[in-house]
Symmetry: C2
Subunit: 214 residues, 2 copies
């Protein structure tokens, strides 16, 4: 019984920690979007998230890490959805479905994600953090693909597939953001979903174009 | 006749400039490999390449740019070879042939390229330069693909294909370098060529894996 109470406690504590982490990264993103990453301090982020400065450092080691964490959250969701897809689905179909499910989630999450992308394109100080996040995402996705196929994570296929799908998503998101920068409002999410779908379908079809007849 | 002489002069001048540029980046790479990028100065690079300091800045704006230029040279060669492939070849076959042709070129060029990759993995100060080079390479390759297909460079296919092929090459080179770091000598170039071939064949085949039978 004590064991069970402990498990309950620890589950509740875990959920509370996840909620605090989300609150901190949302505060960091909000402030950075408003004032620019350079001008925001860790103290301001802690105040905005209504936590002590010491608590901030339990979750993130820098303001840059906190801002970029929203990107990581999107990829963590994608990997969790991919792991939950039925094993009867081919790998790329499972990946496409997982992306579409994540994109259909609450509007707030998506907007945060897109604002973070906007910020990162503008802030050179975020580049090293972003690279670290991208590398970790690729690795985590490669591990999920290897597990699904009962392959060794060192085999070339899982890494090739993970890196390529992440690249395709980056190309689609960047095109969409370029258009977003040109217009006053974000272009439609429907268009974004359609382009993600199209890009993964292209990959699955072999990404090739025939040569010309002689 | 004067026009023709001028063209000859300018062709000779152009070749001389290219040779100087290659000498400068090779000097930068050699010194950076020996002492670490941080410890090398622009003055030392100019001395090693036997040019005046002022001349250095006609070719590169920083030591980081000079070191990373070797990577750009590899991709420029790849794009030139790709442009030279017969239009009757499908896009991915032309890309694969172009990569294999570049990799079969003189051993010195390949070693320099691989040493630069080694350096870049170790030197955080090179990361922004490397990102700029990668983005420019992707864009140049996308333009070459669009031209080959008489497509608009803004269409999604050329960018998707360029970014994905570049990513596949990055995965293969990184795996090979990981093994190179573990051993005392560089692993065989034959193995590298085979893995490049395998990766592009995977892409052309649709990069998918079937689901399990129920």
């Amino acid at each position: 019984m004590i064991l069970r109470e402990d498990a309950g406690m620890s589950g509740r504590r875990e959920r509370k920690k996840l909620a605090t982490r989300a609150a901190v990264r949302e505060a960091a993103l909000r402030l950075a979007a408003r004032h620019g990453v350079e001008k925001v301090t860790v103290e301001q982020i802690a105040a905005e998230a209504d936590i002590a400065l010491r608590t901030f450092f339990n979750y993130f080691s820098s303001k840059e890490e906190a801002v970029v964490a929203t990107l990581a959250a999107g990829a963590e969701e994608l990997i969790a959805e991919f792991r939950a897809r039925p094993r009867t689905e081919p790998v790329l179909r499972a990946l496409r479905e997982a992306v579409l499910v994540v994109m259909a989630h609450g509007d707030a999450g998506r907007r945060d994600h897109l604002e973070a992308l906007h910020l990162i394109r503008r802030a050179p100080s975020l580049v090293p953090q972003q690279l670290a996040v991208l590398a970790a995402q690729e690795k985590a996705l490669a591990e999920a693909i290897a597990e699904r196929l009962d392959q060794d994570a060192d085999d070339i296929y899982p890494m090739l597939c993970a890196a390529t799908v992440m690249t395709a998503l980056r190309v689609v998101f960047n095109r969409w953001l370029d258009r977003a920068v040109e217009s006053t409002d974000l272009p439609s999410m429907t268009a974004l979903r359609e382009e993600v779908d199209e890009a993964i379908t292209e990959l699955a079809a072999g990404l090739d174009r025939p040569g010309r007849a002689r």
